[in-house]
Subunit: 409 residues, 2 copies
Amino acid sequence: MKLLKVDSLEQAREKILSHVKSWHLKKEIVMLEMARERILAGDIYAPDDIPSFDRSTVDGYALIALDTAAAGEAIPVYLKQVGTVSMGEPAGLTIRSGECVYVPTGGMLPEGANAVVMIEHCESLGANIAVYEAAAPGAGVALAGEDVKKGQLFLCQGTLIRPQEIGALAASGIMSLPVFVPLKISIISTGDELIPPGQSPRPGEIRDINSYALKAQAEKRAFTVISTQLLPDDESRLETAIKEALDGSDVVIISGGSSQGEKDYTEKIMDNITRPGVFTRGLALKPGKPTILGWDEESQTLLAGLPGHPVAAMMVFELLLGWLCDNLFELTPPFQIPARISCNLPGTPGRAVCQPVKLRMDGEGYSAEPVFGKSGMITTLTQADGYIIIDLNKEGLKKDEPVKVQLFN
Amino acid sequence: MKLLKVDSLEQAREKILSHVKSWHLKKEIVMLEMARERILAGDIYAPDDIPSFDRSTVDGYALIALDTAAAGEAIPVYLKQVGTVSMGEPAGLTIRSGECVYVPTGGMLPEGANAVVMIEHCESLGANIAVYEAAAPGAGVALAGEDVKKGQLFLCQGTLIRPQEIGALAASGIMSLPVFVPLKISIISTGDELIPPGQSPRPGEIRDINSYALKAQAEKRAFTVISTQLLPDDESRLETAIKEALDGSDVVIISGGSSQGEKDYTEKIMDNITRPGVFTRGLALKPGKPTILGWDEESQTLLAGLPGHPVAAMMVFELLLGWLCDNLFELTPPFQIPARISCNLPGTPGRAVCQPVKLRMDGEGYSAEPVFGKSGMITTLTQADGYIIIDLNKEGLKKDEPVKVQLFN
């Protein structure tokens, strides 16, 4: 692989976007109960005011604020109680100056009233109520539309639906909503040495990690995994498998076979069977250099040849395909944990470094401790809470330098 | 509600734990493919070394390190190539001093070899190989067991299974594993003013948010929601519903009816039908004061009467029941984002304050901006990224004071 042709992470991302911009992102309607963790595919405007009527926020007496102007802890104002509002019922009456009505928390404010004084500041004297507090207009009241106004944009396209969004949608009576259809992904893991994890390796063989780990990564993101398969480094079988995967997939991942060895067929096959074909031949990223990206215009499929080493494969998946989901579906980029690096950490000239780290609470802040390991070691990732990226123009990090840690969520 | 009887968050948590410690947490065996996001219910020891044999980490020549001691960029050492290792095959030969064998990345190291020199630092001269680099013992080699040693504890009980854990389990050939069975929860939402969200409210009525929002919260945690229902404030119907829920549930949530109004029946019913019954009558938390907690020894059920206001209900759920899951299943507590508060924020004497915040990147760090809103407003939570807790002994926060933000994940 000639180093000059290698793309930076940013270049590779731009090229991916320039191709997938022709995708028509599909939407589907789901029931509210099924919408959790889906991504909203459209802006939601409030169909009604929430609340739909002026409500009391306390147990107390609804009244006209001006009537209480002279009231205080020592000298009450006396108002005539002309009724009681029941929860869930229309207030059904109008008050005039000098009058009040009992309203429970959440109860509807009667016509004419503009404040509610808490029961703790009142005294019932039969037909009259002594009010010991001067209320400002609006005190103790949630006005119609104060939470959400009818017609207001209240949830934007690209919102990840959390429990509170489920709640807000329920409050608006929105019982079904548009969400993005996940991207379809096929995962092919290749390597003569690989065996299905359920089998016992003979000398020279190792169990296939990538089809399992990448599938789990894809499922965490907005992908539907439509197939996983394990193949030997056999050019014609690989070519057939990739061709077949192109049809039903938005993205085809081939892990392994992306280096420049004699049995590394990914680049060759992508050159052969896709048009315009390969657009990135190597990434300026450590780990992750042997990454091949291509585009097949006819089937509108993105192809990604990932390194065979599990850590490298997972990091490239995260940085290119996880990132692609966030970008396409307009998700808010994830928050990163500010921390300080626990030791000097060299960079790699001309390559960005993706370094797994463990976070430890250290005094008032977090310390990010690099988890080192040879590139094939999956325990590098099981011991890590997240990762940092050292920019390709940076010589390295000095102990205690601030870093931003992206969690493996 | 008498303020003196109110529990702090910590007191309530301790009391909850003291009761639920008699729960026998159930385990179940799931297939590896189904284990993502489940919680490991047992320690996993490595059944085999990973890798199971000494492997090359580069394409190059396997040799005896000592043989290359004199090699350098200008003056090579000449070794006799006695074979080639194929991927996935036993090396099947032994090398002696003066010999080398070609090994691809991931290939098995032949007997006798203890280092691999990259092909870039070698030159093939027919039967002999010129080696231009002095190799240290172990260079270019991943030793058997270097990633994971046979018998080593490599995943602990309480591990949340992420894609990398799926990968590590696959690498070990662990195709099924013990995970905790989620806790069973029943959710009852009560209020005369509440209608199912699919209906149109008449004056005085509002749509039920809590059974939807709390269900979604429970599903994010290790709970299985076995029922949700909406009931009016009718003592006998509520009592029947709670009694029925006790049988099949580990936790019964009743939202609404937990204040001291005449139609607030939760505390009374819990006192009537459970033994030893109510142990917390009010929380020193804002929002969340009207929270009633109880225990029914016979059915081994935790009962939680939550405030009817959605924001308060969701926060108390998070702080008591979400916390309970993390604690019971020994999960690592979630990471919090260090930030600075964007404005002065008063505390509430004698009560901890749970304040929703929005995070903004502000120079090098995050600024946490409080999202204010009356307690019934669900948009307080949809606009927030997370929350902070102001300790009940703290008068408040000064602008720019450091805070830790717990994300609503």
